[in-house]
């Protein structure tokens, strides 16, 4: 299924544990070549289970998946995939460099790649120290270095900023952005809305095991809109409806919400002023991804939806 630039595709992918627990429910996911895809959902929504199925670590109960045109876990596709699933798991008694040596041997990549990967995540200075002595941020960076050893076409990162302090999160986001800036495709799972909003081109939203939306961040937020505060409101509404059509105007909390391109703001302002309406506010209005997400999943929260 590596056709037309589709790198990951699932069809009704389902994972059930026992009769009562549905971890992933008929998920249809599509990741295209070259994009940074955000896989967004609260903790326990089924993100990690889906990623594990894509890597062949767990078997789906039903449905199919294809990664780089091959079944999940196929050695030929795994050789082109770098993955960091859940927390970075390495051998505590080995140094960072030796851990990468082990991974390089498993992956069958030349050991020369090790130093380049360490350099890329800025871990060269601590590479000789044991993994057990690493901070969480360093462990995450080593995890990313391990995914880069194969110079992969597809990078799967599962909550890579988990547990990092704000500076570490910013560094990690920069790193992910740089990794996804070329031709490489990144599938990034996260429960942090801001992170996904900043980094990703497209987003898949999963809730209670079901993929409830998949589109660009802009599409997900909804079309462009304008907010107008004006006096008298009735006359303002009448004028705008005449201009845009009645179905594209709503009155909310004493303001008008217009389903209109922000580029039309000047024309709308002229129309209102010409009709002797006093315009006190006229600005583009965007819903944040958080608002959209909470609406979709019926949750309350701030930024972190977990």
């Amino acid at each position: 299924m590596d056709r037309g630039g589709t790198l990951v595709e699932t069809r009704d992918l389902t994972k059930r544990y026992g009769p009562r627990t549905m971890a992933v429910d008929r998920a249809n996911l599509t990741v295209r070549r070259g994009e940074v895809y955000g896989f967004l959902g609260p903790n326990g929504a089924g993100k990690t289970t889906t990623l594990r199925m894509l890597l062949g670590l767990i078997r789906p109960t039903s449905g199919t998946a294809s990664v780089l045109g091959r079944p999940p876990g196929d050695p030929k596709s795994l050789s082109r995939v770098g993955a960091l699933v859940e927390s970075p798991a390495f051998y505590p008694y080995l140094s960072g460099r030796d851990n990468l040596r082990v991974i390089a041997r498993y992956a069958g990549v030349p050991k020369e790649r090790i130093e380049a990967a360490l350099e890329q995540v800025d871990l060269k200075d601590r590479a000789r120290h044991k993994f057990a002595t690493y901070s969480l941020g360093m462990k995450q960076r080593l995890g990313v270095a391990a995914t880069l050893l194969k110079d992969p076409e597809l990078l799967i990162l599962d909550e890579p900023t988990n547990g990092l302090d704000p500076a570490g999160m910013a560094d990690m986001r920069d790193l992910i952005r740089s990794l996804g800036s070329g031709e490489r495709t990144v599938l990034l799972s996260s429960h942090l809305l801001g992170e996904v909003e900043q980094i990703c081109d497209r987003v898949g939203v999963i809730s209670k095991g079901r993929l409830i939306a998949e589109s660009t961040v802009e599409e997900l937020r909804g079309g462009a809109a304008l907010l107008v505060a004006a006096r008298p409101l009735d006359r303002a509404r009448e004028r705008v409806e005449r201009l845009l059509g009645a179905g594209r105007v709503q009155t909310v909390d004493g303001t008008l919400w217009l389903d209109a391109d922000p580029a039309t703001a000047g024309r709308i302002n002229r129309e209102l002023v010409g009709a002797n309406v006093e315009v006190t506010e006229l600005r583009p209005m965007e819903r944040t991804l958080e608002e959209v997400f909470l609406e979709m999943t019926n949750q309350k929260g701030e930024g972190n939806v977990g």
């Binding site: 594990r52 890597l55 062949g56 670590l57 767990i58 078997r59 876990g73 050695p75 795994l78 050789s79 995939v81 993955a83 699933v85 859940e86 927390s87 798991a89 390495f90 051998y91 505590p92 008694y93 080995l94 030796d98 040596r101 082990v102 991974i103 041997r105 498993y106 992956a107 069958g108 391990a146 194969k150």
Partner: protein, 275 residues
């Protein structure tokens, strides 16, 4: 598979626990096969007893002195090595790291088994080498002749020692894959080796006919019988050694156990999800 083997060898080589578990059987062998008997020989007052102790420490008895401790004590240590090498991967979550690379489950599994086989072979060879040095030193110090086992006997001894330790190591590997951890497999395995088999052999078998037959199929009994079959027919008092079955049957039973452990562990790895 070669790539996986190479990764496994690096992990085993760099892991301190591997070296501890290699050293312990070597030290135990030297202490209880040579140091303690030789000290008792030097202190023995009865000339006949002294002569017998000395004779049994000379190069001629290298095979028995090298692998005599394998069925029980060596087995417990190698079971621990096998269980650790697999169980830790579950504990640290590194199995998913390895499988998310390229090789595939069976390749990772085969690489691990071959690497453990190499370590077991190294332990057996080191045991024989140290035994050869110690028995030579004893022979020289007592001006005794240094008569070595034939090359054929040495080869059979080495192969038997490897088979016995490998059986226990694979028992540990299998338990670790089945229970996906370290502590329970080691606990259960050691209790089996040190306790349950002894209870069957020493308590149940003398009382019950079916237990008497059952004991002839137990791994430790067969390992003990295999070692005994390589001796010179003298009475053997080493714990774990016996003459309940003949050497050929013992070797075949151990091979059967080895195959069974490999298949069960491989099935568990291949069929189950890796969390």
């Amino acid at each position: 598979m070669l790539a996986s083997f190479s990764a496994e060898m690096l992990k085993l080589y760099k892991r301190p626990a591997t070296w501890i578990l290699i050293t312990i059987p070597l030290v135990l062998n030297q202490v209880f096969s040579y140091l303690v008997p030789y000290t008792s020989y030097l202190r023995a007052e009865n000339e006949g007893v002294a002569e017998r102790i000395l004779t049994n420490r000379l190069p001629e008895d290298l095979i028995l002195n090298s692998i005599g401790g394998f069925p029980m004590f060596g087995g417990a240590i190698l079971l621990t090595l096998g269980a650790l090498s697999v169980g830790s991967e579950y504990g640290w979550g590194t199995l998913k790291t390895a499988l998310a690379q390229r090789p595939g489950r069976l390749s990772v599994y085969a690489g691990k088994l071959i690497a453990l086989g190499v370590v077991v072979l190294a332990i057996v060879l080191a045991t024989f080498a140290l035994g050869a040095l110690s028995s030579s030193a004893i022979a020289l110090s007592q001006s005794e002749a240094r008569e070595w086992p034939s090359l054929a006997d040495l080869t059979v001894g080495l192969a038997s020692g490897w088979l016995i330790l490998m059986t226990w190591c694979l028992f540990g590997v299998m338990l670790a894959f089945v229970f996906r951890g370290t502590a329970l497999p080691i606990g259960l395995g050691v209790v089996w080796i040190m306790g349950i088999e002894n209870l069957i052999v020493n308590v149940a078998a003398p009382l019950l006919d079916f237990a008497d037959e059952l004991q002839k199929g137990l791994p430790e009994v067969n390992a003990g019988s295999l070692v005994s079959a390589l001796g010179r027919g003298e009475e053997i008092t080493t714990p774990g050694l016996n003459t309940l079955v003949d050497g050929t049957q013992a070797a075949l039973v151990l091979v059967a156990y080895t195959i069974a452990f490999v298949l069960i562990a491989g099935f568990a790895l291949q069929r189950r999800d890796v969390a």
